[in-house]
Amino acid sequence: MTARDAFLTSEFRASDTHLNWLEDEAISILREVFGAFERPAILCSCGKDSLVVLHLAMKAAAPGKLPVPIVHIDTGHNFPEVISFREALVARHGLQLIVGHLDDSIRRGTIRLAHPLESRNRHQTVTLLETIEANRFDAVVGGARRDEEKARAKERVFSHRDSFGQWQPRAQRPELWNLYNTQLAPNENFRVFPISNWTELDVWNYIARENIELPSIYYTHRREVIERSGLLVPVTDITPPREGETVVTRDVRFRTVGDISCTCPVASTAANAHDVVIETIAATNSERGATRMDDRANDSAMERRKKEGYF
């Protein structure tokens, strides 16, 4: 039996009823954003979760045009496959793209790196907040999911942020029925998470069902990596091998796409979304645990970043 056959007969295959329910909920949330806010935007890193949100947003607007711009916070440490994917996506759908460059923040002096090759992931928050302010966005849609990380398990669908973009876990607004409290004071904004209730498996099942195109690095490819403390670290200009480390070539794919300096692939031969579904069912490590150096640092790393205004 091929992996594809196994998927099609798998008892874990999500039914249409199940995915339709999640799809309806997400589209309803996106229509709230389109209807209730003056200047909304969709954050799009070209990661799989944000591409699912973008797909849902286009459905929510159809048969009208997507009424909001997409925003990419560009750390400058990108996988080239992701940037070329982004350009093709924007051209294909006639999207309005706004890019916030981390390098601009560094030039302005609002970000100071401790050393040139430092991970830029946590600095994204500064550029994100600057981009929100410069464009006066009042609602920014993201692809975060509650199953990703424990600080996110307590996140609202409409997450209120003060003028410093801070998340205040102890002072969150209760969220009742689908009667979202969308009231804002000047300079405040919302972060909105339409796929809060989706799991990694739901996302992959949906990508497979809807044929959503992803950057090629999500599927198996040959890559030079270093085996470092249980992670496969990609060899790049930003993450060169350390002394004494051996570079090996492996069949890998990425489970998340972030800043080069902190995103690691996993060994995989999955060539399409169906193959990934099967691997996801069999996976024994969580998505962030397997691939993100930044979250490994500390059990509360995400909570601390979110309080500072991170997604």
Binding site: N20, L56, Q183, D299
Partner: protein, 441 residues
């Protein structure tokens, strides 16, 4: 076998030390929703933060649900957290509401989106020496809130059965006591299940220790629940959509599409509709769901509607089936059960913002009629002269609300879409209250 039904949302109701966190941890652990790295983290924290509550040689499953740094340090949970697990039969979404301070606030929030309430009773806290068993006030409170929020499926999980040697008689006595509470609150029928969250008995599989029990395990019971996403069937069904967003067709600039969620009953091409409040009439010409063009859109679907003629429609309006026209009693005043959630107490007569459907409008609570005693789950009439009394955070009252204009209200039990409101403080924008409209039938 495929996952054939929509995800089931349930809330777990329990107080500190009832074993609620252990129960959720057990469901996630036994359904293999946890990954190796998450178990590693669990093992690190077991025997550290809360040594007294952990068990030598075993993982402390209650720590799975401890989210935030502050919570782990203090050994408490602060806010509603959402958990996910999937079995071959179904996807589950758990609203995990902490059981201590601000309990009403958290439980009302979690319950508003739940299909099922799992009420946890700690059997070691029940006094069996008396002839008549008296359950703890918190159990009455959980039952009362589940009832007010209109949760249609109740499961009573009698926990820590291992501590009373899986005694059938004691289990039955607890069930009898809950039956009386359920009757006094007019709750829907419930299932009762003996479990030990700590040892795993009765949670995922039937336990040999309770061989006298004929019912299904907790997980099997949850998997088997059938949801009927329709109205109560008491009223004539009629389509209803709160308008979220109106867009122009990219291919035809003159064609407008009205979007929103289908509530109460299906909507079909050819249906005669009216716009509320304008009264404009039209016929549904075309319908589109996220799956494509359809002849009928079902309850809960996110729909886009094209009408057969140009009518003025905007966010905040309602699209209603013509049959509903006579059924809608638009009103500026209503009686409602209000759960006050803001730390600043209610000031009777103060102008607030109300959200009803997709519309915001000014409103005020003009009179507090009676209060729910959360210890006894009984309604108390206010004593003379107390009408102006305030309502504090976590209190539940029945009150009269006035709205700035006519809105199509309905009894909450007949239509959650038309019967639910949220009150917001116009100054701070805090979510101040959840309201459930009561209409005399």
């Amino acid at each position: 076998m495929t996952i054939s039904s929509r995800p089931l949302r349930f809330i777990t109701c329990g107080s500190v030390d009832d074993g609620k966190s252990t129960l959720i941890g057990r469901l996630l652990y036994d359904s293999k929703a946890l990954m190796i790295d998450q178990l590693d983290s669990l093992a690190r924290h077991t025997n550290s933060a809360r040594g007294a509550r952990s068990f030598t040689g075993e993982l402390d499953l209650s720590l799975i649900t401890d989210g935030l740094e502050a919570e782990r340090e203090q050994g408490i949970t602060i806010d509603v957290a959402y958990r996910y697990f999937t079995t071959p039969k179904r996807k589950f979404i758990i609203a995990d509401a902490p059981g201590h301070e601000q309990y009403t606030r958290n439980m009302v929030t979690g319950a508003s989106k739940s299909d099922v309430a799992v009420i946890l009773i700690d059997v070691t806290k029940v006094d069996f020496t008396q002839n008549e068993i008296i359950l703890l006030p918190q159990t009455k409170r959980h039952a009362a809130i589940a009832g007010l929020l209109g949760i249609r499926h109740l499961i009573v999980a009698v926990n820590k059965m291992d501590a009373i040697a899986f005694d059938e008689t004691k289990f039955n006595r607890v069930v009898d006591a809950f039956t009386q509470i359920a009757a006094s609150l007019a709750l829907p029928p419930f299932a009762a299940i003996p479990i030990s969250a700590l040892r795993g008995d009765g949670v995922v599989a039937h336990s040999e220790n309770t061989s006298w029990f004929n019912g299904a395990s907790l997980l099997a019971s949850l998997e088997a629940i059938e949801l009927h996403d329709s109205g109560t069937g008491q009223e004539q069904p009629h389509s209803l959509v709160a308008v979220q967003y109106v867009t122009r067709d990219a291919a035809d600039d003159h064609r407008r599409w009205i979007t929103g969620d289908v509530a109460d009953a299906a909507i079909a091409v050819g249906d005669a509709i009216r716009v509320f409040p304008s009264g404009a009439q039209a016929v549904v010409a075309e319908l589109s769901t996220p799956r494509g063009s359809v002849a009928t859109a079902k309850i809960g679907e996110a729909v886009a509607i094209a009408l057969d003629r140009q009518v003025d429609v905007a966010r905040g309006d309602w699209i209603v089936g013509s049959k509903l026209e006579t059924a809608i009693a638009a009103s500026q005043q209503a009686s409602a059960v209000i759960a006050w959630l803001d730390t600043t107490p209610l000031v009777v007569g103060r102008r607030l913002l109300a959200r009803h459907g997709t519309r915001w409008l000014p409103a005020r609570v003009s009179r507090v009629e009676r209060r729910l005693n959360l210890q006894t789950a009984q309604w108390n009439l206010p004593s003379a002269g107390s009408e102006s009394a305030t309502v504090s955070c976590n209190e539940i009252v029945e009150a009269t609300i006035e709205f700035a204009s006519n809105i199509p209200l309905a009894d909450y039990s007949a239509s959650q879409t038309r019967g639910a409101i949220v009150l917001v403080d116009p100054g701070t924008h805090a979510t101040a209250a959840a309201g459930m409209i009561r209409v005399e039938k």
